[in-house]
Amino acid sequence: MPFYRNIAAKIALLPMIVISLTVFVGCIIYSFVYSLTNSKLVPVMNYVGFDQYERLFKQRKWDVAVENIFIYGFVFTIGCLIIGFLLAVLIDQKIRGESLFRTIFLYPYAMSFVVTGLVWKWVLNPTFGLENSMHMWGMTWFELDWLVNRDLAIYAVCIAAVWQGAGFVMVLMLAGLRGIDEDIWKSLSIEGVAKWKSYIFVILPMLRPMVVTAIVLIAAGVVKVYDLILALTSGGPGYATTTPAMYVMENFFSRANLGQAFAASIIMFISVVCILAPWAFYEFYLRNKYANN
């Protein structure tokens, strides 16, 4: 096919091609190359091998960040899936005011992470927040000091994140539930299978594509988490709720330690690839293979 054929389409896609190559591919290469240098305030080509990575893995702060992202990733993903699925099932029960409830469960998803963080920061405020309310109602044993507690602060982040993200899972699951064939429900009810059993053992496995999509999208978002934590805890108390994304941003913009930031960002990138690769392999390779057979 000669080059000038279909030239209009090629010109139209030129911006996408240029952006894909320079930004998406180019930036990763740039970051990787400079992660092998000891750049501080400005990027300099001073090759030091994998020193930055070695130093990174020795940092206590990085350990905490990685640990936090695992806790957050696990609790947030599981929390969103369980609550999202539960809400979808509830809404699927032919209830009155269905659209009202759907609106209520999804509105947090329309808000910014910063807003979510700031609201929960206020609700969980140890002096004036919910703890105080409970005390005023006579429940003086009630403790909700998560934001100032080193071990629990990350779970406060999880609550805020689940509050925001559960509605998104609900929408996906509800779309799946509405797509289930009526005959399946009829045969299940003729067989006398309990409602909750049918949902868990029959319907949930049928929703697998939805569940997988939800998990992948949530997991890809987990690695990026930055503004929520910045607004809610600023990484504190101390650096108890810091995350890899925060570690990178700090080293880029306030510590002038570019080499470290590049190395940490490359590790972030590699972990995203590790999450996505099996899914992409399944989605685009295996599925096509079976579809063609």
Binding site: M1, A8, A9, A12, L13, M16, I19, S20, T22, F24, G26, C27, I28, Y30, S31, L90, I95, S99, I104, F105, Y107, P108, A110, S112, F113, V114, V115, L118, V119, W122, V123, F128, N132, S133, M136, W163, G167, A175, W185, K186, S189, K195, T213, A214, L217, A220, Y226, D227, L230, A231, A245, V248, L258, F262, A264, S265, I266, F269, V272, E283
Partner: protein, 293 residues
Amino acid sequence: MSTIPKGSRPKHLTVGRIGLYCFIIMCALFFLMPLYVMIITSLKDMDEIRAANILNLPKELSFYAWPKAWSQACTGFVCEGLKPGFVNSVKITVPSVIVSVALSALNGYALAFWRFRGAYFFFGLCMFGAFIPYQVMVYPLLKIEDFLGIYSSLPGIILVHTIFGMPILTLIFRNFYASLPIDLFKAARIDGGNFIKIFFYVIIPMSTPITIVAVILQVTGIWNDFLLGLVFAGRDNQPMTVQLNNIVQVDYGVAEYNVDMSATILTSLVPLFVYFISGRWFVRGIAAGAIKG
């Protein structure tokens, strides 16, 4: 008990259904609680906030906080409230949405109807970009924009939003165009339409629904963005989310929680407004973004 979905609405309330309603209403209250707290806190004065329960309705309404959050609250040494941030957010969001939606529609059209060899390779590359953590690309992209002379400026942040919005929008438009009947396109070709004519006279008039979805997705996404605005917009063009965070997180002076909460509400008004008036379209946007082609 009539619990078969898609049957008629149950006529009698059973114990099970009362329990169901109680549970779903409790869930709804949990989701509404932060919004409720946000609104009532913004209507109290500081004495009442310090003395009373965070969940109590205000004893007397105080509208002190709202004008202060809008035009007087301080970020550092500047005390202009959120107003400049709102203006900046509008100045960022409107052109970013227009440019990114137009470009992505063109991309989707070229990919769906004018495939050439390699087009889908670059499209795959572009989709891959949707999952790369921003932290990997932020610094190199900053260098690119610096080189182009648009770093820390309005065009700079608009370009960044266009780049990062492109993968998902292109996917949405491509999927929509691929679902249109191909005969339509063939007929237009036989009538002598070329790339540009068919786009303007055949495709664009049919694109209204998908364009609405794309615009909603972009307006909420760009309005809620924090990280990109912080890095690329520059001091003079900081979006509302960044200014909100600066107002609330000031280190000195007495914290005014009512002002903080009014500012938080003001910042989320635009996305919430979009969400409440667009309802179903918003949901369609989520589904369109989630279901990979």
